[in-house]
Symmetry: C2
Amino acid sequence: MRGMRALGLGVIGFGVVGRGFASLFLRRRDLLEEAFGRPVRVVGISDVARGNAFDERGLDLERCLRAAESGVDLGEATGAGGLPGMELASHPAVDVVIDLTPTNLSDGEPGYSHLRRALESGKHAITTNKGPIALRYGELKELACSRGLHLKFEGTVMSGTPVLEMAQRELAGSHIESVRGILNGTTNYVLTRMEEGLSYAEALREAQRLGYAEADPTADVEGFDALAKALILSHVIFGAGLRPEEVPRKGISGLSHETVEEAHSQGKRYKLLVEVSREGGSVRASVAPTLVGPEEMLYHVRGVENAISFRTETLGEVFVKGPGAGATATAQAVLHDLLSLARDLRGR
Amino acid sequence: MRGMRALGLGVIGFGVVGRGFASLFLRRRDLLEEAFGRPVRVVGISDVARGNAFDERGLDLERCLRAAESGVDLGEATGAGGLPGMELASHPAVDVVIDLTPTNLSDGEPGYSHLRRALESGKHAITTNKGPIALRYGELKELACSRGLHLKFEGTVMSGTPVLEMAQRELAGSHIESVRGILNGTTNYVLTRMEEGLSYAEALREAQRLGYAEADPTADVEGFDALAKALILSHVIFGAGLRPEEVPRKGISGLSHETVEEAHSQGKRYKLLVEVSREGGSVRASVAPTLVGPEEMLYHVRGVENAISFRTETLGEVFVKGPGAGATATAQAVLHDLLSLARDLRGR
């Protein structure tokens, strides 16, 4: 493959997921190059906190990883001064923009602008950021389609557990009627520990200590993260352009230890469920703590694990459980999307 | 799409699965024609017991279904005399051969010859028959590749629950290290009922009465069906050319009610597990009743349901549960393979 023009990747966001991807890229580079049929290089990394590095010949990712781990600016560490995200997203040496910035559910920024700029500049786009897909999927999808480009976001729901492409591709023709899922690991962990006797506050503190919950746990415990996933599922499975205000949302912060105990005494468990269904011509979605009995597989999903149950016409229930977060699992989603893009481009 | 040359399907085998496919085809024809970008027609059906029908302009499937249900010969009922399977498999009007003949694990016939003839005649091939894939996958795959043709067989493991393409495509790059699955619904039903108090003989008779077990239950209860699936998984996930005699196989007929009860009293259950794993440079597979505890999702799979657990490097465990048999669920596998073929041919 020497002599062929390399495929250039531009990575925006070098936090836990970005570093997870760099690390996985180093281990799976051969697989990617075989899939694309040409050399594949990360030519740029941009991070508002960690600095920017850019080298058309390909960055030394091990050096970038060491720099980020030790708090050294990426540009300084590599001697390869870089470009801010918006410039990287439109640079001619970049063929695929990989946006790994944090989710923001008020306006989808900065991910939205990165993806839009990428697509407008003729580049394929991959993201793990829920914001732009939950809030502005229709617009981004249309932009991608109109230019013959690909927009991929497997990591936005259940990280690398490949439920989105499974729903769209492998279950095609099965007529998915509804989905029910545990799509937020933090709240499932808290609920699991409450069933084991902890109070809500104790369980939440433990989740924070273990790194499962943020210092400000609002996005998880109030159901905003689950809401984003409900929106994404409504878009990609049901083609519905639901808006956040159309989805009833209830988190777990109002659940008392007594309520959880009472459910337990009846042989049931509260799970924070995302539900999306087609009813007649319309699509409905909701996020709420829901009583689930042991006859449902969702009942048996413990701790930070995620799971989804598809109800279909031809297969009845298809249930998938897997990780919903984590650096390597989310990096796997990006790897999945790159391999999927390679097949799209090569017609396989 | 009028005026375009139609895509011709040749269906061999018109038993429960063949009729399920014909019925699903009638309901999903639009989806198929959109995917292939041209009209799609079933031009021939061949069944050694029910007769043969052939019409280049497309058969009247509703008439074929009525004939088969009422025991009338297909050729007579349609007035469109047909071709035996081997001739249909090489007829110029057929573009895709769909082999839905019964599984035979001694030599893979007649499915093997149908698939081989199809591929040698330049046709894509789809099958739900485990025999040829379990026993002669390497040879058939090589033949397909050498001619630029596609060979698809999603329905051979867990019917339409799309675990094979999930393993090969959606989990690509995750490095699957091992799989563990409940891949035979009949034995899982019998074991479930034995846990509920029935003897082996009683549970088996009930399974036979409900149509879950054959009059001769050997293939299920002695683990031959599970063995075929172990071989198929070893081929497609691990690229291993394992032969049946290399896979230790133990069925459930030797399990006494007392043994099952004793497991139950320890909070465990016996499941007939297929296990395939890569260890060092070699691949090992086995079929055996195995004690499983409630911490594993497989423990919670009851009745005729099937499930598989993939252990991967990047995602840890990914678990999928769904139907493992049934006319519509297996027809869905054929629909899946056709839609997958359409994407392959159109480069998506």
